[in-house]
Subunit: 324 residues, 2 copies
Amino acid sequence: MGEFDLIARHFKRPVRRSPLGVGDDCALLAPRPGMQLAVSSDMLIEGRHFFADVAPQALGHKALAVNLSDLAACGAEPLAFTLALALPQADDAWLAAFASGLWALADAHGCELVGGDTTRGPLTLCITALGEVPAGQALLRSGAQAGDDLYVSGTLGDARLALEALQHRVVLPDEVLAAARARFERPAPRVALGLALRGLATSAIDLSDGLCGDLGHILEASGVGASLDLDVTMSLIASNIYRTSAGVQFGLDFWQQCVLAGGDDYELLFTAPPQRRAAVQAAAQASQTPVARIGHIDSAPGLRILDGSGRPVDARFASFDHFG
Amino acid sequence: MGEFDLIARHFKRPVRRSPLGVGDDCALLAPRPGMQLAVSSDMLIEGRHFFADVAPQALGHKALAVNLSDLAACGAEPLAFTLALALPQADDAWLAAFASGLWALADAHGCELVGGDTTRGPLTLCITALGEVPAGQALLRSGAQAGDDLYVSGTLGDARLALEALQHRVVLPDEVLAAARARFERPAPRVALGLALRGLATSAIDLSDGLCGDLGHILEASGVGASLDLDVTMSLIASNIYRTSAGVQFGLDFWQQCVLAGGDDYELLFTAPPQRRAAVQAAAQASQTPVARIGHIDSAPGLRILDGSGRPVDARFASFDHFG
């Protein structure tokens, strides 16, 4: 079966929102009047972003999820995406499973595949996601103000816990690994929360590289600093193995690494003025997304990590840098 | 130097047309009222689309050129692009040269880099190009009508000639190789012609896989057939080595393969009704792009290749299929 047949079999479906989908030189999108188009591209590479034995269905999910997470962080509504795919061989069963994971997430967000590219090569995926946001309402990294509260959605550190186990650096009970692995392989992009935060949050970013590193991007772009409540932040780890052992298992440093610099959380980190606390909680409820207040923005530059009594903790966590 | 510094050094420049460029979770584009957005993604892989020893400046050019060529084929005006880049190592000199080739072509078309991704991996590039086209005016593959003239821009076969030489299947004199290699490594996307053909051409495609294969896409999408004048088409090979040897060197089959199924030409193949011949030539002149009439569209399906006296030639040329 040739390239064109493979594409048609697994990736060509009629478009509903877009004027033109897969099959021509370009796809065509028709943004609504007054809307800006948000664009995000991510490339995923075997051995770097996923393992060779990843379930193709999970990979299809994650490849799109990381891009939808970028749209969420901007408060954009997903519209469409393109998929460029390099494959070592054209395996029909693999493609069917990959496509099923991709379509399930795409359909859940009303986001349609409109084009792309397929070629032979080491397994590599590049998705470009396109979303709509009313002009001037996109959530940016640069809007945090001194005095703003600092929030994060969901839970933290579970994806990193899975990564540590999958790379055989720690051993987890089966059910703990399964839960952590689901977080690592099937992150849920916080699209509904991002939309609900338009007009409320002063800045936002999605957590791909790790809490401290990604917070650093907000601080740098906004020209501010932050204080982080370590106890509240550490309470956001979901895994039972941490709670039941009070962090003794694997050591507290390990758990702090997971939560503060774990990466792959795909939660939203955002800021909002204290007078909008009720509105932020209402947005969290409306989008059925837990949100925790983990600190605040300071005018003094830098990141201060504070313990429960407000004393600085000597913790330094760099972001995960792919060339570090 | 870390990933973020590398990106900033070579790929972060202020945007002029777009509301938000590199550096946030998403870029923001503001399409003008009444405009649709044309989107195209292409992935380029070492060993498949370029050689390991390719000059990085040429690679920067070509990676963007193949996407701008897709916009050209739709009659879209380039606006912006994203770049996802996997690199085996972070080499500053390589990136500087790559970026210079990329920027030169981007600037020539007023197309700005608005975002992307950088990671470590086998050298892989994925560019998504975005352009604007007035609603309903995009050139599609599906509009060819029986009786339409069939046109192609520029010259054909030179890129394939270079590929054959670079893969040591033929030996070319230095100056012939240099000229052919320039066509292979630095294709000029026919953006101005694509814009000039809006409202004139009934269908269009860019030649990436080879004339016969890409023509096949128009025929299939339009539900028509075509007759191709082989003599006129073969006259479009630019290389002196063909003209001076009358095709004897390497044999006529070789040259027909280059022209009819060569690939990598990045010319525009398009159709227009005979009553628009003068207008098509005016569009060609206005865009300073040579255009040749190489055949016509038939209602009978299939592709007929005819010699100078209108007799069918027994020539079968499949498209270049990456999974063939």
